[in-house]
């Protein structure tokens, strides 16, 4: 028996469900192959670990905490939404809201585009802004421009 044959029979060997002849062959291989015997011991360690996990006990106060939560829920019930609302209607409502936002945004951007260009490009509008919005930076920029010139 070689290592690959042993590995393919490993599960049956460990569970003891092989015919006696096959089991003896596996035992013989194990006694001569260090790699396969190490493999078996690693699997034994995994089995031990599973037993340790099974033996772990929950926190003794867990029951009290669960009970407290249940009683709180009965005293002050939180609003529970139906599954259809949570899984279907809520994402749909968010998608519709986003779509509306995008549409409104693009519509207003289109309408604002032309006046904005005019504001930037015409000196008359800059004067209008200067006199009506009281932006001190405009005045400062003018001074800097004069100095640079």
């Amino acid at each position: 028996m070689d290592c690959s044959q042993f590995k393919s029979d490993l599960s049956a060997f460990r569970e003891g469900t092989q015919p006696a002849e096959m089991h003896d062959l596996c035992e013989q291989h194990l006694s001569s192959c260090r790699a396969c015997s190490r493999l078996v011991s690693e699997f034994d360690k995994v089995d031990m670990l599973i037993e340790q996990v099974k033996a772990a006990e929950p926190n003794p106060f867990a029951a009290t905490r669960i009970l407290q939560r249940l009683e709180n829920e009965v005293d002050t019930p939180q609003k529970r939404y139906p599954v259809v609302w949570v899984r279907v209607l809520r994402p749909a409502a968010i998608a519709v809201a986003l779509l509306c936002g995008i549409l409104i945004g693009s519509y207003t951007a289109k309408n604002d585009a032309a006046p904005l260009n005019q504001v930037i490009n015409t000196t008359g509008n800059i004067d209008f802004l200067r006199s009506n919005l009281f932006i001190s930076e405009f005045a400062d920029e003018d001074k800097i421009l004069v100095i640079n010139n």
Partner: protein
């Protein structure tokens, strides 16, 4: 208290019924959840959600199976949902880990406490086992965990999963083969090092 009395008590929101439910099923719920989510703290937190779900959906319990089987079903579903949420969060953590220093720590963080080789090996084995179970397809994972960890019979698993006995046998057989394949690959690589 019989199952019927318990169900009626819960529907009436009777505190004694709640107490009976929690005292009788908390161990089952927490331990099963723990086998799926991989740690006791998360399982205990999740158990609160599970019990809330049980009392809120008690009116939809059809009594086609036993109460215990129905509670198992809720536990498994909730646990798998939590695992999926954690996987998504794990993806974010992996992205965050890209920003860590080469020794695996973030700048300014306190160093890891000293871990003995035995503890390290134990932790490594735990992670390996969890990874091997996590790699199994969902149905195989449920059948394998319920059988190997929770000691449920094939018949009980068939009832919990709402499938036939031959299907359970096949799932567990394939799960064991997949687990073994994964572990053999890992141990072979480990031996080469």
């Amino acid at each position: 208290m019989t199952d019927q009395e318990l169900i009626e008590g819960i529907l009436r929101r009777d505190r004694k019924a709640f107490q009976y439910l929690v005292n009788n099923y908390q161990k089952q719920v927490i331990k099963t959840a723990c086998y799926f989510v991989g740690n006791m703290e998360d399982a205990e937190d999740l158990s609160q959600e599970i019990f809330l779900d049980i009392i809120h959906s008690m009116d939809s319990f059809k009594k086609s199976s036993s109460l215990s089987t129905w509670i198992y079903r809720i536990t498994v579903n909730k646990s798998l949902n939590m695992v999926k949420r954690h996987k998504r969060r794990g993806m974010m953590l992996r992205i965050e880990s890209l920003f860590k220093t080469p020794d695996g720590r973030e700048t300014g963080m306190t160093p890891e406490p000293h871990v003995s080789p035995a503890d390290f090996e134990h932790k490594e084995k735990c992670e390996l086992l969890q990874a091997a179970i996590g790699r199994l397809p969902e149905n195989q994972r449920i059948a394998f965990v319920l059988n190997k960890f929770d000691d449920q019979t094939y018949k009980q698993i068939a009832e919990i999963m709402k499938i036939g006995l031959p299907a359970v046998e096949s799932l567990i057989h394939r799960a064991k083969a997949n687990m073994q394949k994964h572990l053999i690959i890992h141990f072979s690589e480990y031996q080469k090092k």
